[in-house]
Amino acid sequence: MNSAILSCTGLDKPEGSVAREVAIRMASAAGSEIICPVLLNRSLARYKKVLAENPLIVVDGCSTRCASKLAESLDLKIDRKVLVADGLKSSGLTLEPTLNLGANGLALAQTIVDGLVQSLTAPVSAVLSTAQSTEFPPPREYLVVTHDKFEFRIPTADYWFNENDVWVRPLGGVARVGISDYMQQSLTDINFVDAPAMDLTVEQFGELGTLESSKAVFEVVAPVAGTVVAVNPEVISNPTLINEDPYGKGWIVELKLGNWPEDRELLLNSDAYARSVKHKAEEA
């Protein structure tokens, strides 16, 4: 799979230098077309053809996410992302404090490259499961919370919420998870979904990936414990589906439930969540 790669310039901190190194190594390891962020910012036309023909990989050094923000400002569709700072934490390495990469920096860059190459060559079925064992009927009725000109819908039945605006819809030992209408409106257009890995086991209130919009990076706080058995491929390719249909086609993951009766005690039903939304909207 060919790709284009846009990285941090690498001139502010060592994590940036790793991002830059990843781009250079991806060019030789996977034939990725390197996109210079400075030139891209100056002349989008220079890269128009490359971007039209290849999925875009964005490599940010730190959480300032300059490369991601540049891509978003130019309305570029991002296929996948890497944050070096996250890779550094999970590697257990300590980066040398210089812009010239040392052994650890180079090792981290290679680890990230290996992961990217693997993800580019892996079949989609290894990353996402599209096979749904259960049919989840869409909500039939909604409560509506109004605040100023805004309306926030909440399904009247079958959906449970945590106070972090994530819903769960259980059905026969599995459950779908997504974010509420209130949260999708707060985030505005979602432009990237960093989904959890298949087979990941998560505790209640653990992290189930992140959603990114121009306003924020939102951590999906797991409303229940469970194991990821499906990731919605539609929201990966079209994240704004979450904005368009947050309780239906915009579901994010399916979990095999771990401890539903106990987890439910720490969740809100529709009425209680409606009160929570009203309060949040008034405070915002």
């Binding site: 959480s63 300032t64 972090n164 209130f205 924020a216 720490l266 309060h279 949040k280």
Partner: protein
């Protein structure tokens, strides 16, 4: 922010807020600009950014740390906080 409870527990009994590592913070103020709950405040002096309203922080939210380039914001351990909330709920249910 007048919200007083989280999962039925008084908010001020739950330890959940960012801590600033002043050795790393470069006072870019991205977090203060981002957080809609006014957890942070800008001040005069060397420490120009402080966690002024820790109980305004939404429990389990770590979004500000995802805006922090120098990685200067940290949060309590989530499982420990969950255990703390469950323990308080249990304690209050028997009272």
């Amino acid at each position: 922010m007048s919200e007083a409870t989280f999962m039925g527990v008084a908010r001020d009994k739950i330890t959940w807020h960012p801590t600033i590592d002043y050795d790393k913070c470069n006072f870019c103020m991205e977090c203060a600009t981002f957080c809609p709950h006014r957890v942070f405040e800008q001040r005069e002096g060397d420490r120009r950014l402080v966690v002024a309203n820790p109980n305004n922080c939404v429990v389990f939210c770590r979004a500000c740390s995802k805006t922090c380039g120098p990685d200067a914001l940290s949060f309590p351990d989530k499982p420990a906080t969950i255990a703390q909330i469950k323990a308080i709920r249990e304690q209050e249910s028997v009272q």
